[in-house]
Amino acid sequence: MAKILLHGTEAICEGAIRNGCRAFFGYPITPQNEVPEYMSVKMPQLGGVFVQAESEVAAINMVYGAAGAGIRAMTSSSSPGISLKQEGISYIACARIPCVIVNIMRAGPGLGGILPAQGDYFQATKGGGHGDYHLIVLAPSSVQEACDFTYKAFDLADRYRVPVMLLADGMIGQLMEPVELPPMRELWQIPEKPWATSGHFGKDRRILNSLIIKPEDLEPHIAQMQKTYEEIYQKERRADCYKTEDAELILTAYGTVARICKSAVNTLRKMGIKAGCIRPLTLYPFPDDTYRACAEKAQTKAFLSVELSLGQMVEDVKLSVEGKKPVYFYGRTGGNVPDEEEIVRAAQDALSKAEGRR
């Protein structure tokens, strides 16, 4: 199929629609308003459901209900809206209902600004809501990936009965690039859900609940969830390596920043510095194996995590590197995006610091 020019948010919608999403609930917030706009047109055409809810809290609980009935359901928002959804996300995780949540991150904290940021990394990967749970978190860095990852998110969610979050910064949401759309999947091709509360019809009684009041019931329930997270960790860690084979300095970033880092790697190599870039595709589970493999190589001198935050992913990088090599950080906040030269300078600084340590 020929490539077409698509907006990041439209690509997310197409990825969802083409993998059977037939229910969308949302509340407007910049920079993701084009998602509900697009869905409000497409859902009715496909016999699906679109509701502009009265609030983010309502929207996530509508997802809870629709996805509980076995429909592939999605909601999207941006940082402050995602904070409002956290209670619902925790309930959905406990009730083990698969769904997809899109977060097009803007600058925080608070109402913040509407420009791109990556300050929600902790929230997305370390819980967000209350209790012991995890989401699978995917981080696209192009419009094509925004489409493909959303498509994949529905399959992952169903396979593990875990909510999946697509974590993109505002720039991925607003960028237009050529996209090759995946084929449209028919609804009958989607595996049946033997747990869904889709009506009695002579079946056994099914209950989806997040209130498990007896401690002797709740602990095994959480243990079961933990087993799933362990399986996800074993099977779903993904990262993309760019010129890391012989690199002495490993840059690492996700989303838009990873692309700028790639440019920086090429510039650094022209200057005679062997740089490479690790780009995690899954932020949870974090691809620690990729980092560890690089940290164990003799020629690797240092890591530099570049983020649109004050330093969040860098903690996971440090945990993965296990102190074998120094890990440095460079970040911008407030909606500012570093350019290539800035990252090149930060990389040179990191390398000279690492060499000074010896």
């Binding site: 490539k3 077409i4 020019l5 910049t30 920079p31 509407i114 420009l115 505002g170 720039m171 607003q174 960028l175 237009m176 690039e177 050529p178 838009t256 692309r259 700028i260 790639k262 440019s263 090429n266 995006v337 350019d339 290539e340």
Partner: protein, 178 residues
Amino acid sequence: MIKILLAGQGGQGVLSAGKFLAESGLHEGKEVSYLPAYGPEMRGGTANCSVIISEEEISSPLCNVPDVLIAMNGPSFHKFTSRVRSGGVVLVNGSISDCYAGRDDVRVYDIPANDLAMEAGDVRSANMVMMGALCAVTGIVKERSILNCLREKFVGKPAVCEVNEKAFRAGLNAAERQ
């Protein structure tokens, strides 16, 4: 790879011209990216977008140092000219802006886009005048690709399409004369 920054006032068709350009690049099988500067914008405010057209994969979609600046009005001409790469090109809407760049390492083309657009039949086609000038000066996309995109966009509105085509050709000629 060529990085183009289009800037002007909201309503001058800056964003739609950028989309046209990206679509045309895609039609020719090139890699393209289009990034609108989205901020707390309002009607009558500023608008700008970055378009990159490349033979290879585009890594950074940012356009902090453009090769080409298309400035649709005076304020954006003065705001962005300093950013243009040395040896780059600036196309400025001379109808409503002066053309003094304050530097001599960029080539400035004075295109009276508003006047030419009014001659073509509608001042709103000033963006297409600039597209014409861009084609003539850089050759980054072929005339045919832009015209095909125009016809696709305005299918069912032949009068609008004709005005835009006229404006496009006026821009081509204006740039070729300089």
